[in-house]
């Protein structure tokens, strides 16, 4: 008889083991996961009546994935990955992303302190930082005055005038001010966001760190 949640429990354990073994050489990682999978298969054949509890006991006896991987690291002579400590690179990246976009973004992608998702956000929101906004603003100003065309007939009557304002001027002014505030605040918001995400990344990986402390 198969336990109702056997596959779920076992797959979950193996996935955690595989994730914990992320820094091992590929072959060693694969072998470890394969060995443990074979172990579980073997252990299951010895259960007279397989229940979820029996599966959980098998996994408990195997030990925490982090402990198994710590052992593998020690036997392989691999040092546990040290938590990355952000430094000058990250400070410069946060400052330069809004104010000197291309260099800031290069630094941002060089640093291992951010998740790739945060790097993408830092790169794309807003595109180009203040430099990009300046170019964007110039382009907008240019296009604003560009398509204003007055077409008159021979008698001087205006046939077509695209210069007419689309709405009341106070609304336009309000939108312009609001847009300016938002646009100029955005790069700072992005920089603040990156700074916050950086602090989260600073926390040491709990599993490995606590394990190492127990061992020493």
């Amino acid at each position: 008889m198969t336990a109702p949640h056997a596959d779920q429990l076992i797959d979950g354990y193996l996935a955690r083991l595989d994730a914990a073994a992320g820094d091992l050489p590929k072959a060693a990682r694969q072998e470890l996961v394969d060995d443990v999978r074979a172990h579980i298969t073997e252990a299951r054949t010895r259960e007279a009546e397989e229940t979820d509890a029996a599966i959980l006991n098998i996994l408990d006896r195997l030990g925490e994935p982090a402990a198994v991987v710590a052992e593998a690291r020690e036997r392989l002579g691999i040092r546990a990955p040290q938590p990355y400590r952000p430094g000058l690179l990250e400070v410069l990246a946060v400052i330069l992303v809004p104010f000197f976009w291309p260099i800031g973004v290069i630094l941002l992608w060089m640093s291992p302190a951010w998740h790739w998702r945060d790097k993408l956000i830092g790169t794309l929101v807003p595109p180009g930082g203040y430099l990009g906004l300046g170019i964007l603003g110039l382009a907008a100003a240019h296009s604003g005055s560009g398509p204003c065309v007055i077409v008159s007939d021979a008698a001087g009557n205006t046939i077509q005038n695209t210069c007419q304002q689309a709405g009341p001027s106070w609304l336009q002014a309000f939108i312009a001010v609001a847009l300016t505030i938002v646009i100029y605040a955005l790069p700072l918001v992005t920089a603040s966001y990156l700074a916050i995400r950086l602090r989260w990344g600073r926390q040491p990986q709990p599993g490995i760190a606590s394990l190492r402390m127990e061992r020493s």
Binding site: L17, A28, E31, L32, D35, V36, A38, H39, T41, E42, A43, T45, R61, L62, G63, E64, P65, A67, V68, E71, A72, E74, R75, L76, R215, S216
Partner: protein, 114 residues
């Protein structure tokens, strides 16, 4: 009184386990689960999963070799067998351990008497 040098004991246990595993397969090849069952009573192996990194290392160091075999009552099993080099290493440890144990025992007994 606090437990003396817990780190040392666990290091000794780890070191000794390597040779205990080799001793388990000195007469005939065994598969990992059999070794775990044999070690189960001794307290040398508290988390079963840690045996696999140990076996991998023994194999990489050329002290054991492995072979998959079909079994009649379960899934295919990977059997571990001592190599000639493994036998030499085990023999060296055995003599080393015997004299080490005798020395330590001697001193500890001495300490008890006084």
């Amino acid at each position: 009184m606090p437990v003396p040098a817990d780190g040392l004991v666990s290091q000794m246990r780890r070191g000794a386990l390597e040779y205990c595993v080799m001793a388990l397969i000195q007469h005939s090849p065994r598969y990992a689960f059999e070794m775990i069952e044999a070690l189960g009573q001794t307290g040398l192996l508290t988390t079963e999963g840690t045996l696999y990194p140990l076996l991998s290392r023994l194999r990489r160091d050329g002290l054991v070799k492995t072979e998959w075999r079909e079994s009649s009552d379960g899934p295919p099993r990977r059997y571990y067998e001592l190599t000639a080099e493994g036998r030499r290493a085990l023999a060296a440890f055995r003599s080393e351990w015997t004299s080490f144990r005798a020395s330590v025992d001697g001193i500890l007994q001495e300490g008890k008497k006084s």
